[in-house]
């Protein structure tokens, strides 16, 4: 049953990719990709329930479904569906004649397929390969518009991320080496083997390996100071791609860090790994705060907000404990939804005003009352204000922080979150209520249902999750923290 669901989940986007390449008709490709996304989400929804308190292994233990992996898959599938709906409307605006659309949808579905494979990989080395594959596919999505800026972003993306992720490979080799000193030269390097062998391994070697892995996957997850590719790639790709990068891809890499943290926890010797993760979290928040306050591009603003939220996730996993893990996982889901919403809104605004600069976007509520209100609600949510889900999850992570030995980091997080709140919403104040600067005509673009529907679909759950906290969810997170 679970095996069949996993097959459906990964084969649906793969099938859509092949179908798009074969069909080439733009409308058919749209529908095919959308259908794959719906099927994928339907297959991903039961997975956390199935993985509650237990895990499954398939295919010679190469494929693993555990609670944390199922949760990440769910986040990815949700974002994939939202972005696919949005892509229908957005790509029609972007590419009127539709001659390259089949290529876009093929890449898009392929990108989703690689991201849905990553969290399922039980072999640590194969997980690395899956993450590397996501980079290769998404590079072409980032550069899809073929402008000078998008090519530049794609080039930076592939160079910085491939170089960074090669450090993760080095770390993986060192982990394997550490294990081979105990288990003999050949063994299956799965997550559970590593956890089992970790207590018998020299702590320094484990620390060194973990640091390399952290820098490697941290590059991919957009932790500062390795985040340099992120604002470029997120701002230059088409908006649905930005949503996928931000809402889904970063989580897939963060999952690797969380799993390696579980390995070093099992070793139990050294506090270094947790401290370093926490420090990266604080630095990410700091860098994001500085760049958010002085930002000019609308999508770059969202991109730096992703750096911020990856920092928050790193803090959650770094503080650890049931509260930290639960907060981080809850935050991951809320962030996926809200950030998709923010990129959709940013894409709409960019197309409507024909500019990437926030200074050109003025008097939004007058021209777009409904979608403007949705976007504003999203902005309030993403900065962690109540009554939205992100408020709850950030509060949980803060509480975990004050209970942990790294209380200083919790204080820093609190201060920086306030700075980001003020800086981020100040940009929205100007876009919504700022004085009209009289540049060009009022926007003429009408936002169709494809462009606003996904915003509703993203906002409603975030609002619901902010006021209603199901007991089942709590016990699910608790089981993740108890059995990593």
């Amino acid at each position: 049953m679970v095996g069949a669901l996993l097959l459906i989940l990964t084969l649906a986007p793969l099938g859509a990719m092949l179908g798009c390449l074969a069909l080439r008709a733009p409308r058919a490709c749209e529908r095919l990709n959308l259908a794959a996304a719906i099927v994928g989400l339907a297959a991903a929804l039961p997975l956390p329930v199935a993985a509650f308190g237990r895990s499954y292994a398939f295919w010679d233990r190469y494929v693993l479904l555990d609670a944390i992996g199922a949760w990440t898959l769910l986040c990815t599938a949700v974002v994939y569906l939202l972005a696919s709906i949005y892509a229908v409307g957005y790509m029609r605006l972007l590419d009127e004649d539709g001659r390259r659309l089949h290529r876009f949808y093929a890449l898009f579905a392929g990108f989703a397929a690689t991201m849905l494979c990553g969290p399922l990989m039980n072999n640590v080395g194969v997980y690395w390969i899956a993450i590397e594959l996501t980079t290769l596919v998404s590079t072409f999505l980032v550069g899809f518009e073929l402008g000078k800026e998008s090519i530049e972003a794609a080039w930076k993306y592939i160079i910085v991320v491939s170089a960074g992720i090669s450090l993760a490979l080095l770390g993986t080799v060192l982990f394997y080496w550490a294990g081979s000193l105990v288990l003999g030269p050949t063994y299956d390097m799965t997550w559970s083997t590593l956890r089992a062998v970790a207590p018998k391994v020299d702590a320094r070697l484990l620390d060194a390996a973990f640091l390399l892995v952290l820098i490697g996957y941290g590059t991919k997850a957009g932790l500062a100071p390795m985040h340099t590719w992120l604002p470029d790639a997120h701002s230059e790709g088409p908006a649905p791609v930005s949503a996928m990068l931000s809402g889904a891809l970063l989580n897939t890499a963060m999952l690797g860090i969380a799993r390696f943290l579980a390995v070093t926890d099992a070793a139990g010797g050294s506090a270094l790994p947790r401290t370093v993760v926490v420090v990266f979290g604080v630095v990410s928040l700091l860098v994001a705060a500085l760049f958010i306050v002085r930002q000019e591009g609308v999508k770059r603003l969202m991109a730096y907000s992703s750096v911020e939220h990856m920092g928050v996730l790193a803090l959650g996993f770094g503080f650890g404990g049931p509260l930290g893990i639960a907060g981080a996982l809850y935050h991951m889901f809320n962030h996926s939804l809200t950030k998709s919403l923010m990129f959709f809104g940013a894409g709409n605004a960019m197309r409507a005003y024909g500019s990437k600069d926030m200074s050109d976007i003025r008097a939004l509520p007058r021209h777009y009352p409904v979608s403007g209100a949705l976007w504003l609600a999203g902005a309030v949510a993403i900065t962690g204000a109540p009554p939205f889900g992100l408020f709850l999850s950030e509060l949980m992570i803060l509480r975990a922080g004050f209970a942990s030995p790294q209380a200083w980091a919790a204080i820093a997080m609190l201060v920086l979150l306030i700075v980001i709140f003020a800086g981020f919403l100040n940009h929205f104040r100007r876009m919504y209520f700022g004085e009209e600067e009289g540049r060009g005509a009022a926007p003429a673009l009408r936002l169709g249902g494809w462009l606003t529907l996904p915003m509703w679909l993203a906002l409603v759950p975030v609002a619901v999750l902010g006021v209603w906290w199901p007991q089942a969810l709590w016990s699910f997170f608790h089981s993740v923290a108890a059995h990593p």
């Binding site: 390969i129 290769l136 072409f140 073929l146 090519i151 930076k156 592939i158 080799v173 394997y176 390097m189």
Partner: protein, 226 residues
């Protein structure tokens, strides 16, 4: 573990190959001609293939023969061929703008090797492996990693950056042959294959760079800041 009890001949052969590869990384660092980089990379790949075969012979890991053949075919023949084609098509033959002279890069590279040596001796001593070929492998692996990063940082031509990435990966490959020869075969095969995909992707991207940016130097890529 293999590296701890080797007969002296095998140990010195491994050391020789590892050190020769490290020297070739310095050749790349000390030159400004793309052709030199390519030749150095090719020889380095062949040395690594040779090392795989040697480990297979002395350690009795039969499947490493396959890895050796594939390394030679992919990294020793196919990748250099693809890169050569890109170089010819782009009509660039050397780094035009150096942000660091080759001589200073050599000095920095030497410092990086010293750093790598300190780290690996420290680790090796803790693991009771001091003085074995494992420490040397670790040193070479880390130094090639650092030199690759140095190349990525100070070179601007697209081809040099691709080669920098390949040096990073060569370092890992070299070290892993000696440290973890029993690593599952599937993994090594897929990583080899992965590399091929990377280079193909880069090939496509470089063409975009020429077509839409008009240059293959990353110095031109500075529109996105802040």
């Amino acid at each position: 573990m293999l590296a701890a009890h080797l007969d002296p001949l095998a140990a010195s052969l491994f050391s020789l190959l590892a050190i020769a590869s490290l020297l070739l990384a310095f050749v790349m660092l000390g030159s400004r001609w793309l052709r030199d980089y390519l030749v150095a990379f090719t020889i380095e790949s062949w040395l690594i293939a040779l090392l795989s075969a040697a480990v297979a012979y002395y350690g009795g890991y039969r499947e490493l023969y396959l890895v050796a053949v594939l390394t030679a075919a992919f990294r020793g023949v196919l990748l250099p061929y693809l890169l050569k084609r890109i170089i010819v098509r782009l009509n660039v033959d050397r780094e035009l703008h150096l942000s660091l002279q080759p001589s200073s890069s050599l000095v920095i590279g030497a410092l990086l090797v010293v750093f790598a040596f300190v780290v690996s001796t420290h680790l090796g001593a803790r693991l009771g492996l001091a003085g074995t070929v494992a420490v040397l492998a670790l040193t070479v692996m880390l130094s090639m990693k650092l030199i690759g990063f140095l190349m990525l940082a100070v070179r601007h031509e697209a081809i040099s950056q691709i080669l920098g990435l390949l040096v990073l990966e060569n370092g890992i490959f070299l070290g892993s042959q000696i440290l973890v020869p029993g690593m599952p075969l599937l993994l090594e095969l897929v990583i080899l294959f992965d590399l091929l995909v990377i280079v193909v992707c880069f090939g496509v991207l470089v063409r975009y760079l020429v077509a839409h940016v008009g240059s293959t130097s990353s110095r031109e890529l500075r529109r996105l800041v802040g």
